[in-house]
Symmetry: C2
Subunit: 186 residues, 2 copies
Amino acid sequence: MGGSAMRGLTELEGCVLGLIWELAPCTAYTLRQELLQSHSPYWSGSAGAIYPLVARLERQRLVRAKDRATGKRRSKAYELTPAGLRRLVQWLGPPLTDETVGVPMDPLRTRVRFLGALPPASRAAFLADAEARMRDRLTRMEKPSGASDPKANLYEELNERGAVAMMRARLEWVREVAAGRDGRPR
Amino acid sequence: MGGSAMRGLTELEGCVLGLIWELAPCTAYTLRQELLQSHSPYWSGSAGAIYPLVARLERQRLVRAKDRATGKRRSKAYELTPAGLRRLVQWLGPPLTDETVGVPMDPLRTRVRFLGALPPASRAAFLADAEARMRDRLTRMEKPSGASDPKANLYEELNERGAVAMMRARLEWVREVAAGRDGRPR
DNA sequence: CCGCTCATGTAACTGGTTACATGATTTA
DNA sequence: TAAATCATGTAACCAGTTACATGAGCGG
């Protein structure tokens, strides 16, 4: 059952499925905005990614579209099918994969690994730049939670707190790298 | 100068360039092993990725190969050219891009965002699974540093400490999510 | 009416993936 | 000598990228 061999969802597919679950009924355009406005844009949210993706999901019957054209404007509003919800649930886990729980990739950490290739002066500049930018980002992440958006759902809030926690830990680590490049007790 | 329009390096290209700088002279095979054995394998280290990549680097003269065939076995050992080193340095930064310093993608965090789609019982199971696996990973990351490998260079060590720090912070966050889904003071 | 944003897509490309192919060298 | 591993690659595929195309609705 289920048409085409059911290979695993990509990260973006899972994420979009989740967004549709959250925002249904919603258009592909809305999904794009959500991805673009997310202040952690590892995905471009480009049209070239989203439209083919939702088309894929629709072909697999994980998603269905209510055609609601206003005037002469075509517009498709998507929502999960029962199969789509099952698929989302299965994608979420448990069980979790090693890929999911393992150390996530971090371009900054990768670069630090090769800091030895920079002339010493540049190393200091590198770390100073990193620290400054991260502090900046952190403040911008922590502030707007004041009163602007009451954070629709709990898990979105927790997700965001996770992002902040990661940035804090990363910042602290960079400081450690900068301060004691000697740091370790011996 | 510099042949082909010099577009930016991909993350993997930068990383491989760094590895060649570190291990030169070394073969493509060695690079693969390094990527495979790294206990954070976001890259497959597949032959299909590495060989074309180093060929690319060689065509751009960022890398040159000393042909050293032992017996009847062909073998190319790569090292950075001066241009390659310049390129590596430039890739490392400063200045850093937002992409580099920004919140890195984290599949676990993404999933937590949509935890609401799971039946409550599964939510608990999800979080328990996550915590268990992460604790397991952490212990395995912290242990072997005992005496086995004296950690060749400082920055490799710092890189690894960064990975551990990230995992710790993530674990703590997951605990927070699990313990107080009420957590916040209001 | 001009230009901007809304909204939906297509086309060409590309970097990385799995899977396969090939042969040399080492080990059981 | 058979099996495993070393070592170097190629071929087909695929998801996501940038860039472009098209047209409706709206504010000035």
